[in-house]
Symmetry: D3
Subunit: 242 residues, 6 copies
C-alpha cells in the first residue's frame, strides 16, 4: 500500500488535527467542556440529577447516559431541526447510544449511587469526527461533574475507573488516515471509530465499508493508527485537567 493520498490540510496520514479542550465553557452545568478537533466544535455538558431510570430504581446503582444533537447549521448545508421534525434520526440515536456505552465503560455505577449523569453533546460546528470528539470531551465534562460531587462531600470516592477517548480512522483512496475531516470522511471507502480506555483496552470498534470492503491487513493498520491517536488524546485530557 503506497501512501499517495495528499490531505488538503497538509497533515500527515497519522497526524491529529489541533485539539482544544476548554473547561467551564457554560456556567450552569456541573461539567461543561467545549472540545475542538480542528474545525469540529462540540459542547459537552454533564448534568447530575438525583434520580435514575426505571431499570435502576432501588438497585443502589446510578446511571450514565448521553444525548447528542447537531445545531441545524453546524453543517455546510442546513439540516432540519430534529425537534421540529418530531423525531431523532437513526444516526443521532446510534451516536448517543455509543457515547453512553463508552462513558459507562469507565464508571463504577455502584460507587456513583442512585443518581444519573447525563452527557449532552451538542455540535456547534461540524467538520467530521463529531462523535469521537463528543466522547473525548464528554469524559472531561463527566470528570468535572464528579469533581463537584466529591467537593460537596456527596461522594467520598470517585466512581470513575479510568479515562476514555475516541478517534476516527479510515481508508481514503487506499491510504489509511487518522482523524478524518469532513471531505475525507465523505470520500472514504472504510470508516472506523475506535474507543479506548486509558489502560489501552478497547471499548468499542465500529468499522464500516459501504464502498470497498477492507482486508485484515488494512484493519490492522487502522487499529495501529487509532491507538496512536488515542494515546495523544488521553494525554491532552490529562493536561486539560491539571
Amino acid at each position: 500500500m503506497t501512501d499517495t493520498y495528499q490531505r488538503s490540510s497538509g497533515r500527515a496520514a497519522h497526524q491529529l488535527r489541533p485539539v482544544r479542550i476548554t473547561r467551564h465553557y457554560t456556567m450552569h452545568a456541573e461539567g461543561s467542556v467545549l472540545i475542538e478537533f480542528g474545525a469540529t466544535k462540540v459542547l459537552c455538558t454533564a448534568s447530575v440529577e438525583d434520580k435514575v431510570p426505571p431499570h435502576k430504581r432501588g438497585s443502589g446503582q446510578g446511571w450514565v447516559t448521553a444525548e447528542y444533537g447537531m445545531l441545524p447549521r453546524a453543517t455546510n448545508t442546513r439540516g432540519s431541526r430534529e425537534a421540529a421534525k418530531g423525531k431523532q434520526s437513526g444516526r443521532t440515536q446510534e451516536i448517543q447510544r455509543l457515547i453512553g456505552r463508552s462513558l459507562r465503560a469507565v464508571f463504577d455505577l455502584e460507587k456513583l449511587g442512585e443518581r444519573t449523569i447525563t452527557l449532552d453533546c451538542d455540535v456547534l460546528q461540524a467538520d467530521g469526527g463529531t462523535r469521537t470528539a463528543a466522547i473525548t470531551g464528554a469524559w472531561v465534562a463527566a470528570h468535572d461533574a464528579v469533581g463537584t460531587l466529591l467537593q460537596s462531600g456527596t461522594l467520598a470516592a470517585t466512581p470513575i475507573t479510568g479515562a476514555v477517548a475516541a478517534i476516527s480512522v479510515g481508508i481514503v483512496q487506499g491510504t489509511p488516515l487518522l482523524d478524518l475531516e469532513y471531505v475525507e470522511d465523505s470520500a472514504c471507502d472504510t470508516d472506523m471509530n475506535i474507543v479506548m480506555t486509558g489502560a489501552g483496552q478497547f471499548v468499542e470498534i465500529q468499522g464500516t465499508a459501504e464502498g470497498v470492503s477492507f482486508s485484515r491487513t488494512e484493519l490492522d493498520e487502522l487499529l495501529r493508527l487509532g491507538e496512536l491517536g488515542i494515546a495523544q488524546l488521553l494525554a491532552l485530557q490529562q493536561q486539560s485537567l491539571s
Copy 2:
C-alpha cells in the same frame, strides 16, 4: 411608585446588561452571530436556501422564518431535549413565531426573490431575555446573509428595509425594570417584550401579568424604558456592522 427594588447585579432600573455581538461565530452559515445580553448567550445563524414554503411558490416573493431551541443544560436545571421528547413546547413555538414575524417586519419579500432565509436561534446559556437577544442578534445575522447575496450579485439591492431589535421590561416588586435577568424574570408581576424598528415604530408588544395586573401608568413607564433600551441596541447593531 417608589423605585425601591435593588437589582442584585447593582444595575440601575433603566440599565441594559453588557451586550456583546460576535459576527462570523461559526463558519458554515451565511450569517452567524453570537449575541450576549449579560450571561445570556444565543447563537443566531442565517441560512439562505433557494426554495420557499408552499404558500409562496410561484409568487415571486421570498420568505423569512425562524427556529428557536435551547440546549438542555443552557438553564440552571437540565430541561428535556425537545428532539428526544418528539415535540416542541408551546413556549418554543411562540418564541420562534415571534422572531419570524419581527424579522419579516423589516424585509421586503418581493426584493428577496423566491428564496428563504432561516434564522436558527439556539440558546447556549440562558439568564433571561433569550427571545429578545435572539431577535436582536438574528437581525445582524440576516444582514450578513444578505451581504453574501449582494456580494455574489445574486441580489442587486438589499431587501432589508430597516433595523429591528427587542428588549424585555417588567415590574418587580412595584419597580419597572429594563432587561430582566432570570432571577428578576421569575419574580416579576408583569413581563413585557417590545420589538421596535430602527425608525422608532413598534413591531410587537407582548405584555403579560400572571401575577398582579398593571395600570395604564405602569404600561406607559414600561414602554418608555423599552424605547430607551432598544435605542441602545440599535446603536450596538450598527456598531457591530461597521
Copy 3:
C-alpha cells in the same frame, strides 16, 4: 389620522359587534356558555376535576387551564383537523396559553384548593376575534362552575377575584378599529388583543405588526378603543349572570 375606512358592516370604528352570551348551552359541564361576537361563535365549557397537574400536587393550590380548538369547517375554507394531523398548531397553543393565563389572573389558586378548572373553548363558527370571545365567555363559564362548587358546599368562598374580558383592536388602512371581523383582520396592518380586569387593569397586551409597524400615537389610540370595548363586555358579562 382621518377616519376614512368604511366597515362593510356599517359599524362605527369604535363599535362592538352584537354580543350574545348564552349560559347552560350544553348539559354536562359545570359551566357551559355559548358566546357570540357577531358571526363568531365559541362554545366555552368549564370542567371541574379533583386533581391538579404535577407542579401543583401537594401545594394546597388548584389550577386553571384552557384548551382551544376550531371545528374544521368553522372557517370559510376547511382547515385540517388537528386530532387527525396528530398535533396542535403553534397558533392553537399560543391561544390556549393566553386564555389560561388570562383566567388565572383573576383566580386565587389557594382558595380554589387542589382541583383543576379546565376551560374548553371550541369555535363553532369563526369570523375574527375567536380568542377574545373565548376569554370573555370562558370567564362566565368559570363563574358558573365556581357557582356549583359554592352551592354544593365544596367551597365556602369564591376563588374568583374579579372579572376578565378581552377584545381585539387593529389598524386597517390607517384607521384604528374596535373588534375586527375576519375581512378586517386579514387586511389589517396591526392587530392587537387586549385583556383587562373588571378593575380596569391590564392582564395582557399582544400587539403585532406584520405589515406596517405602528407609532406610539397609534398605540395609544388602540389602547383607548380597547378600554372602551372591554368596559362594555364587562357589563354584558354581569348582565348575563343576573
Copy 4:
C-alpha cells in the same frame, strides 16, 4: 322473553327519542346540519373541495369521506382532547370509517367527478347514539352540499343515489330496545348499529356482545326494531329537506 325493562325516559321499547334536524346551522359550509337524537347533538358539516385523495387522482371519480370528533366536555366526565394527545383513538377511527362507508354507499362517485365531500361530524353533546345521529345528519348535509353544486351548475345531475340513515338497537336486561341513550348503552349486553338505505337495503350491521352473547331470535328482533326506527328517520330526513 318478557318485556320487563322500564326505560327511565318512559319511552316504549320500540320508540325513538325526539329527533330534530336543523339545516344551515353554521354559515361557511356547503352543508351544515345540527341533528339531535334526544339530548345527543351532533353538528354535521359537508365541505366540497376540488381535489381527491391519491388513490382517486386521474380516475374521473370523486371521493366521500368523514371525520368524527367529540368536544372534550360533550360527555358527563371530561374526556381528553384528541388534538392535544396527538392521536385519534381506535373508537374515533372506527366511527369515522363507518360514516364514510355509509355515505359512499349512496353516492355515484363517477357522477361526483374529481372532487371530495368531507363530512365533519362533531359531537357537541353526547347521550348515546352519536354515530347513528352522525350518519343520519351527514346525509342531509351532503344533500345540501350537492344542492349547491347543482345550483351553481358545477354538476348537471345529482350523484346521490338514495337516502341513508342509521339507528342503534340493543338488549338491556333481556329487553330489545330501539335508540339507546347513554344509561341504556352502558348497561346493555348487546349493542347493534344498523345502517340502511331509503330502498330498505342494509349497508352496515355491527352487532357486539361484550357481556352476554345473543341468539338468532334476539338478532331477528333487533333487526326488526332497527328497520322500524330507520323508516321513521328516513321520513324525517325528507321532511327536513322540503
Copy 5:
C-alpha cells in the same frame, strides 16, 4: 338468486378452505399457535403478565386484550411497516379491538384474577380472512396459556367459559360465499365477519356493503353460511386440543 359464481379454487360456495392449527409453534409464549385458513397464515401467541391496565387495578379482575400486525410482505405488494410509519392504521386498530372483544366474550375476568393475557396475532402470509383466522387461533393460544396457569397451580379453575371462533362470508356477483379468499374479498359487494361461541350464540356481526347494499333475505343466507362454517371451526379447535 342463482348460484352462478365459480370459485377459482373449485371450492363450493359453502366450503371452508383447508384449516390447519399448529400448537407450540414458537417456544417462549405461554400459548403459541400457527393457524392457516388456506394460504392465510397467522401466528397467534398468548402472553400472561401479572399486571392489569389502569381501569382494572384493584378490581380483582383480569384483562384479555389483543394486538394485530401484518408483516410488510405478507401481502401481494409490500405494505409499509406500521412501526416505521409511527402509527397503526385505522384498519389495524379495528381488527385488534374486534379480536379483544371476541376473546373477552368467553372469559370470566373475575376468575382470571389480576393478570393480563395479551393475544398477539401476526399475519405471516395473507390471502383473505386474517381477522377471522386470528380470532379462531387466538382462542386456542389462550386456552394453552390458561393451561400453563392451571398446571402451575396459579389458577384453580379455568376462567374460560366456552369456545369462540370466527369466519367471513360475503356476496360475490350475487352469490353468497363462505370463507372468502383475497380475490373474492376484493371483488365482493358485501363482506361480513361473524363471531360465535361454542354454544351457538353470536358475539359479533359486522356486515358491510361498500358496493351494493344487501337485502334481509341475503343477510339470512349469509348468517346460515356463517353458522355452518363456525360449527366446523369449533370442531377443529377441539380436535387440535386433544
Copy 6:
C-alpha cells in the same frame, strides 16, 4: 487465556449452532427465506419495487435497504409492539441500518437500475444473534429476488457482486466464543458482530464492551473465530442455492 467456560448447549467455543436456510418460505415476496441459527428464527423477505428514494431519483442507480422487526413474543418476556408505541427503538434502527449497509456492500447499484430491493427481516423467535442471522438470510432472499428479475428479463446481468454473511462473537467469563446464544449474550463482557464478503474482506466490525474492555490479543482471537464461522455460513448459503 484458558478456555474454561462450558456452554450449556455442549457446543465447542468455535462451533456454530445448527443453521437452517428455508427458501420460498412465504408465497408473495420475490425472495422469502426463513433462516435459523439454533432457536433463533428470522423471516427475511426481499421485495422489488420500481421506485427509488429521493436521493437516487434520476441517478440511474437503484437502492437496497432493510427493515427489522421483532414479534412482541419472539422473546422470553413480551416486548411492547413498536407499531403500538409509535416508534422504532434505537436498537431497531441500528440493526436495520447495519443490514442495509451490509447488503449494499455486495450490490452494484448501477446494474440494479432505478428500483429498490427492501429486505424485511422479522424475528419470529429470538435466542441471540438475530442481526447476524438476518444479514445471512437476507442475502439469500436478495439473491432469489434478483433471480426473478433475471428470469423475467428485467435485468440482463446480476447486480450482486459477491456473497455476504455475518456472525457474532464474544467473550464470556474470559472465553472467546463463536455465535452467542441469548444466555451467553446477556452474560458476555464483549460482544462483536462481524460481517464479511465471500472474498474474505470485512464489511462491518462492531465490537462493544459494556462490561470489561478487551485487549488487542482478545480482539485478534475474536476476529479469528468470526472468520471461521463466516466461512461456514458462506458455504451454507451456496448450498441452499443449489
